[in-house]
């Protein structure tokens, strides 16, 4: 059994987590003006690298999303990082 590290709960067994896609896959702005190929890129097309990658994961038991570095060959996973809101300058 592999364990992943939730930034809020610590080390927990893998079946408590759900894969959430590539980190940095941001939703296009401007709903009606976004071209179909741009929507397709966002919705369906993936990096899917062999080796090091950065992904969004959900810890299902606490409900928090976070970012995790992982290697898709060795399955080694780094500690989860919280997704922080962008800093607002007053």
């Amino acid at each position: 059994m592999q364990t992943f590290s939730c930034p809020f709960c610590g080390s927990r067994p893998e079946y408590e987590f759900h894969f959430g896609g590539d980190a940095g896959n941001e939703r296009p702005e401007g709903f009606a003006t976004v071209a179909a190929p741009v929507w397709a890129e966002y919705l369906h097309f993936r990096n899917n690298p062999k080796g090091d990658t950065q992904e969004v994961w959900l810890h299902m038991t606490c409900g928090e999303l976070f970012v995790m570095d992982r290697n898709t060959v060795t399955m080694a996973a780094g500690p989860g990082q919280p997704i922080l809101p962008p800093k607002v300058t007053p």
């Binding site: 059994m1 062999k50 080796g51 060959v73």
Partner: protein, 417 residues
């Protein structure tokens, strides 16, 4: 040298001390130029080369394989062939494949050990029975064989199922496809390789593609660890590594690569006469000709290129098996393994020209590529030879993701990938 397989040649070589058999295929050095290069020496790649030579008369072809023939998913699947899909596009595709499988042993002069023992997709609740009736109706309208089975039919084909009062997954019936069954997976790869080699195709193993030759915005060949190989058109049939190849060619695909596990038990006396799948327990099983119970289930739950499975999924699959067949409780597992499968959002394959002109795709078969080998080969060969889609492959082009015209078999037939 004896090149044809028959009872007579077997007898002749028996008297000859088995010394006169010709090698099944030749292993030449790669040439610097071919008309067409197919990357990937699994079932789909080898079938593509065979159909290019046989259907289109193109002989200057190479199949490039980084490891050995059929060493990827072709040698790691659970050998099931079937065409029990929902949408017309899918049934046309998979039924073409099943029809080609039905005559393949004779065509290739190679026994692929096709055994059309039938397959039952179980339904455990009244709601699942209604969905099964819907799929059966769709399959019949689409022109393939399907029957709706009731509880007595399940008792007849699966006498060892858990029909007890306390069964958590009572078998109310299910979808029966009598033409479904199993075939020997290695034999499919080796049979196509032998037939392609006989038609003049160069089969090159231990040759890894490192990059693509791109000139004037068009793919003109491949760079490998054994030198550059130029080609007018390049076909890609590399399953779970499609995204890796796409990155070298400069584009992304709507694919995630996952590990799909399977395992086999020790051999036992004949006890399971059909292929059985239960969407409820997430487990499927069949018995091999050697007597092993071949067991499979759902995907591991995170993208992976490590060809090994993880424990939670194996536990789910095996607990499902034991719930359905308590008699298997004492079976010992002999082997467990995983292959890397290319999963697409709508669980349908991608066949067509890639964003890099001259490079053609055959990928996205997910957990079900083995059953589709003859069709995948036929359709990619058609594309590579003519530059145009076959009528059957057109709906599966990469453009369907931008057009929104998905062929969602996960929703349609409830397949797990």
């Amino acid at each position: 040298m004896t090149t044809t397989y028959s009872a007579l040649s077997l007898l002749k070589e028996g008297f000859n001390g088995q010394k006169g058999w010709a090698k099944a295929w030749t292993s030449p050095e790669p040439k610097s130029r071919y008309d067409i290069v197919v990357v990937g020496g699994g079932g789909h790649g080898l079938a593509t080369a065979y159909y290019l030579a046989k259907n289109h008369g193109i002989r200057n072809i190479a199949v490039i394989e980084k490891g050995w023939l059929g060493g990827g998913n072709t040698g790691r699947n659970t050998t099931i062939v079937r065409s029990n899909y929902f949408f017309p596009e899918s049934v046309r595709l998979y039924d073409l494949s099943l029809k080609l499988y039905e005559t393949l042993s004779r065509e290739l002069n190679y026994n692929i050990m096709l055994s059309q023992r039938g397959m039952i997709s179980l339904a455990h609740t009244p709601a699942e029975m209604e969905m099964s009736a819907r799929v059966v109706n769709a399959m019949q309208i689409n022109g393939t064989d399907a029957e709706l089975y009731g509880p007595e039919d399940v008792r007849r084909v699966l006498p060892i199922y858990n029909f007890g009062q306390r069964s958590r997954y009572p078998a109310l019936g299910g979808i029966w496809q009598g033409r479904a069954g199993t075939a020997r997976h290695d034999a499919v790869a080796w049979g196509y390789a032998r037939a392609a080699s006989k038609l003049g195709v160069d089969i090159i193993q231990q040759c890894e593609v490192t990059d693509f030759i791109v000139e004037g915005g068009r793919c003109r060949g491949i760079r490998t660890n054994r030198g550059d190989i130029r080609a007018d058109r390049v076909g890609l049939a590399v399953a779970g590594h499609s995204s890796v190849m796409a990155a070298k060619a400069g584009f992304r695909l709507p694919i995630l690569s996952y590990a799909l596990q399977a395992c086999v038990s020790e051999p036992v006396k004949p006890v399971l006469n059909t292929v059985v799948v239960s969407p409820g327990t997430g487990t499927y099983a069949s018995q091999s000709d050697k007597g092993e119970i071949v067991i499979g289930g759902g995907l591991d739950r995170m993208p992976s290129y490590g060809q090994r499975g993880n424990l939670p999924v194996l536990e789910t699959v095996l607990s499902g098996l034991l719930e359905m067949f308590p008699a298997f409780r004492q079976l010992k597992l002999m082997r467990q393994w995983a292959g890397i499968v290319d999963v697409v959002p709508d669980s349908s394959p991608i066949i067509g020209e890639s964003p890099l002109p001259g490079l053609f795709l055959n990928c996205g078969w997910g957990t079900g590529g083995f059953k589709a080998i003859p069709a995948g080969g036929t359709l990619l060969a058609h594309l590579l030879a003519t530059g145009q889609h076959h009528d059957i492959s057109r709906p599966f082009d990469l453009d369907r993701f931008a057009r929104g015209r998905l062929i969602d078999e996960a929703a349609g037939s409830g397949i797990a990938h």
